[in-house]
Assembly symmetry: C2
């Protein structure tokens, strides 16, 4: 049975190898003319410098956390934490590296060939490095942790019929494999939180700052080399939209896989073991293997596009093909996997946990997750794409000034919460019905099983965007910019589906994690959290307020850094009027430093709060209270994430709608356009900093609570009183 883990190893090696191949294939390509090289190098240097500082800071916090976990919880969990953090950090770093190489090469190919298809291929090759690394490194880490502790240390040795436990010498608490897997997931989450928050503040501070002065005051177009903040803006795309996104999705991926594996272990140890202990191994292996298969499918999917000699000029079709091939193979092979693992297994024992497990149940649950993710993505597409009414209405409202742009966008974002939640609720209900909370975990895992494909597409967007920036700044032909713009906008549409998966899987994985949390401190065989008890209720109230506090702090951080950026750009324009005439080069470096320092200074507090809040509350008010916090935070964060994501997206596209001249009597530079630009600027930090961070917030909270609950359920202030 354990030998099946070789599939995971194979998949991760295959994925990373293909990523390495693509990396060097891209790097070998020509960079274009001197001006392009110069700009690309400036972006690369800026991005590298920021990541270096960021990782230094994160390394200190991460190591400190690992040591605490190693001592207070379990030394194995500490090591797993470090492995997770390393995988996550590496994936982000590699993705950013390739993005800063690929951007200029994409611009050059577009310039040389004037072919959308050929340019697409380079951009996608760059993106695929990130996508494959995310899944490859995540699975490699899982393989390592599983082998080290599950097999080698024997923590999943079920030959005696019971799950081996160990005892922490300091606290005297016993623990099992689930805690070690949680440690791994937590390591990924912590890095993701810092990368997302830090990168998000960086990129939006630069973006807002550049727009506020450039577009609104100086009336120069985006990416105009006269704008001193423009290089910082492009650096931001790489550290935020690429490195941040990579770490984020790696975290989601690992969280989704681990949540079902951990839950299986908790069910096993709380229902007195199964009739056949081997079923546990199968339940733990299933999500890992399913995702291993998914990665292999994604390699095939990416390969089919990259091998093509003749590529069509319809990038939308090409990218969708990659996604559908990857998803199709995953689902088909997953069917066989589920049959292989669970056929003939005696699952009667599971009925004590409130569900039975047929041979296809985990596969059905995973498929439900996939369908739900796609539907959620389509819904957010409806609310944010200018082909549909809601976004058109925002553009319309812009005629009456920016106040109504904002008001209408807020209303759209708020209204857009209901439908995705209905889909999510239905998926939750159905997957629970099929496989209990384990099924819910499988649903989350299903959504992300072909993450390599979705991340490739997600990353290809910012690479194309950056290529466009470089084309603009180095004065390439307008045709070049048109090609990159097309690629970028296609990426945005396809990425909407990816966002659906991210939010949906975060919600389901958190619920599944929360169940493990409840198992971990209660001796009940059925899960119970009484929301009407005072501890849980007050916890839920505080929990619901936390995402608001967290979001407010992030927005504040962005606004603060953006205001500094505005002052700096204004100062440069004032002191050197030759900048605006194009006779003098602006000082890009100071702007990069402002973004960089703003991000580094402001990212620590919200990130630390998200980790510390449940733990501190646990040590004061105990485990039930934290259970309340988790449920309150989850409910609140899901709504805020959908609201901010869709409102931000709709504002962005309403602006684009006006820019393309679709609004009667209005266009670039009109009053309605200026109002729409205000909307877009307001939406920027909401959709790119706050929204994605909220997904991580709820997972980091549930994971860290799960890791610490064995300690604070015994030792807390309330129990001492």
């Amino acid at each position: 049975m354990q030998l099946l883990m070789l599939i995971v190893l194979f998949a991760s090696v295959l994925g990373v190898s293909y990523a390495v191949f693509n990396f060097f294939t891209v790097k070998k390509m020509k960079e274009g003319n001197e001006r392009m090289q110069e700009i690309a190098s400036a972006i690369r240097i800026g991005a590298n410098a920021f990541i270096r500082y960021e990782y230094k800071l994160v390394a200190i916090i991460g190591l400190a956390t690992a040591v605490v976990i190693g001592l207070v919880i379990a030394w194995e969990a500490g090591i797993a934490f470090v492995i997770g953090a390393t995988m996550s950090a590496t994936a982000g770093l590699v993705g950013m590296k390739i993005a800063t190489y690929a951007n200029v090469r994409v611009a050059n190919v577009a310039d040389q060939t004037r072919s959308t298809g050929k340019t697409l291929k380079v951009a996608f090759r760059g993106g695929s490095v990130m996508g494959l690394c995310v899944a490859g490194f995540a699975l490699f880490g899982i393989f390592a942790v599983y082998m080290l502790f599950g097999v080698w240390e024997g923590m999943l040795d079920l030959s005696t019929g019971v799950l081996p436990t160990k005892v922490n010498p300091i606290t005297g608490q016993s623990y099992n494999l689930s805690l070690i897997l949680s440690g791994y997931a937590l390591g990924c989450s912590v890095i993701a939180m810092f990368n997302r928050v830090g990168g998000g503040i960086y990129t939006k501070a630069a973006d807002m700052g550049a727009d506020l002065v450039g577009k609104t005051e100086a009336h120069i177009p985006e990416d105009d080399p006269r704008n001193p903040a423009t290089i910082a803006d492009n650096v931001g795309d790489n550290v935020g939209d690429v490195a941040g996104l990579g770490a984020d999705l790696l975290e989601s991926y690992v969280g989704a896989i681990m949540s079902s594996a951990i839950l299986a272990i908790e069910i096993f140890s709380h229902t007195g073991g199964f009739n056949s202990p081997e079923l546990l191994t199968r339940m733990v292996l299933f999500p890992m293997l399913f995702c291993g298969i998914g990665l292999i499918a994604c390699v095939i999917g990416a390969f089919t596009l990259l091998i093509k000699r003749r590529i069509s000029e319809n990038p939308h079709r090409e990218l969708n093909l990659v996604t559908w091939i990857s998803a199709g193979i995953t689902v088909a092979a997953g069917f066989g996997l589920s049959w292989l693992l669970f056929d003939g297994q005696d699952a009667t024992q599971l009925k004590e946990a409130g569900f039975a497990l047929g041979k296809l149940s985990p596969w059905v649950a995973a498929s439900i997750g996939i369908v739900a993710g796609i539907v959620i993505g389509i819904i957010s597409e409806y609310y944010t794409n200018y082909d549909y009414k809601p976004t058109k209405r925002i553009a319309e409202a812009s005629k009456e000034g920016s106040a109504l742009t904002i008001t209408q966008g807020m209303a759209t974002g708020m209204i857009s919460c209901m439908l995705p939640v209905v889909v999510l609720g239905a998926a939750l209900y159905a997957s629970f019905e099929i496989g209990g909370m384990y099924g819910v975990g499988c649903g989350a895992m299903g959504m992300l099983s072909f993450v390599a494909a979705t991340v490739s597409v997600d990353t290809y967007g910012p690479i194309s965007d950056n290529a466009g920036g470089i084309a603009e700044m180095s004065g390439l032909d307008e045709d070049v910019r048109a090609i990159t713009d097309t690629l970028d906008s296609v990426g945005n549409t396809t990425a909407a589906i990816g966002k659906g998966f991210a939010i949906g899987s975060a919600a389901l994985a958190t619920v599944s994690m929360m169940s493990s949390y409840l198992y971990a401190f209660s001796d009940l065989e059925t899960l119970l959290l009484n929301i009407i008890s005072k501890e849980v209720l007050v916890g839920a109230l505080l929990g619901a307020a936390l995402p608001y506090l967290f979001s407010g702090m992030l927005i504040n951080a962005v606004a603060k850094a953006a205001r500094n950026m505005v002052s700096e750009v204004r100062r440069q324009f004032r002191e050197n009027p030759e900048i605006l005439t194009g006779d003098k080069k602006p000082d890009y470096k100071t702007c990069i430093e402002i973004s960089s320092q703003g991000a580094l200074k402001e990212m620590t507090l919200p990130a630390v709060i998200s980790i510390a809040f449940p733990v501190v509350c646990g040590f004061i008010f105990g485990a039930e209270f934290v259970g309340g916090i988790l449920i309150g935070a989850t409910l609140s964060a899901i709504m805020l994430a959908i609201y901010t994501g869709n409102a931000g997206g709709a504002w962005d596209n309403a602006k684009k709608y006006i820019e393309k001249g679709a609004l009667e009597g209005e266009g670039k530079g009109s009053a309605a356009h200026e109002a729409a630009v205000v909307g877009d600027t307001v939406g920027d930090p909401l959709k790119d900093t706050v929204g994605p961070s909220l997904d991580i917030l709820i997972k980091i909270m549930s994971t860290v609570s799960l890791v610490c609950v064995v300690v604070f359920s015994k030792y807390n202030l309330m129990s001492l009183l």
Copy 2:
């Protein structure tokens, strides 16, 4: 014991009589010159016309609801519903009437005397009519329902030791007094919902419309008679800020009183009765009597100000004095009441419900509520007043354009959620510890026990505001406007405390109602709602999305009506340029009609959704699911209410801060001021339409669920499958 209810009758008659006296005292005063009379009459006619239409619509929906309740639930509940609706509608109507008489008289007194103190007295006398009517009518209705069904029909006759029940002939379900009391509360809630939503849409559509064209485009000051929307704006103050507010607070008041009375009955019938059945009567009477005493205290408080021959020129001190006298007497006399009712009562039986009740426990719980309400008010004062950092920072950010005004305001609103929730959580925890869920209900009741005083102050604000509008439009001296502006701004500060009470009591009353709801369908002696079960969890997800949907619909409705208003004002300016030069009178009437029709058309759907959503879900998914909806909606709505209220308030005051010239180098008409006006306009529907409606939303949902649960817990689709 029952005779004590005469205190409630006495209080309500005293309150209403004093209100009538004040009404005619105000009405007898002089209206001022012809122009003033003309404007005041236009406002009065507009307000009356809208209320007439609104009440017609509401009467149809209300009567239909009453008939359904009477047939399906209990005929007594149907009648109680009608009584509640009548009381709520009457209070709103009377308050609006006096406001439209008082406004012009306040302007005239200010003009004649040039004394802030004397003007204050007239404005406060007008406001007190509303305040006293709210409490007086609410208590009169409670007295009537109690006497009719509790005493006369004998539903609270405990001589046999058990609570009498009756059976609905159609559904066969048995019910007791608690259902009838719920019917009364629901009647008040439904009217409040329509008044708040309808009035809120009306007033903000007019306000936004007037500002968008007037201030931003035509650059004419607020309340300028050349602005065609200005009369509509002033009508809006009366139907939204006065009639809407009155019905809203009557609903909160009744909800808070009833939640503890109902819960007492539910505890009694689910713990097999108390050792001494009389304890139940005392627990039911306590909140009613406490509020009766509160109303008497408020009459004394108002009297001390209105009797003064010489009134100081410091309105802040005078108004605070009224509030503190009223609150002080209430708390002191409440101490005696609690002692009288509960001294020597055997409360051992209550231990089965998880708490004991000492002779002062209900009083302590009520006092905790009062303190919590004040602290929450002070916190929101901190976040929204320009004397403090958060609002100053928004003003500062306005220098960088409207996008940053919005961003900074959002951040402030989001961050401001945490502290009030901590206070609320602490109050919930403490009052629960002291008196179980009954204590939580008493906490809510305590916050609103002197509602007559807070509503008087709340109403005095819009009256002064309207007086200022009339002064401006009829071209009175600038000194007059200065006096009314002072009065208005003082009202805003004092009203912040009132908002703290409204949000806090809504949260606590809902939690207490929810407990009654749980008792009503489960046979357990301890309250239980397992949030991790699939029904409750999915319900909670949908419930959390509902306040977003509801808010989004309200904002949309306001935006739609405001855009129509903008088009109309622009049309008038375009077709009759003489309007702007002052040579021709604008067409006020069309603007009034736009607001009126917009409100009437848009108010039904959100109001009906709030009532129908839990009921429909109940008949499909059953009682547990609705329990989840209630908890999800409560958590989500509290956060949104605080967020929208504080963000809106902060934007408003940031604008005022710049207007008074406190921001270095900026002032009225500067770029920063224009940005701040955008912020204020965005905040308008948030703080005056959405925020207050959310309080009603959660109470209406919990009350309607409580009324219907006996039916849908038996008959629902899921139980049939």
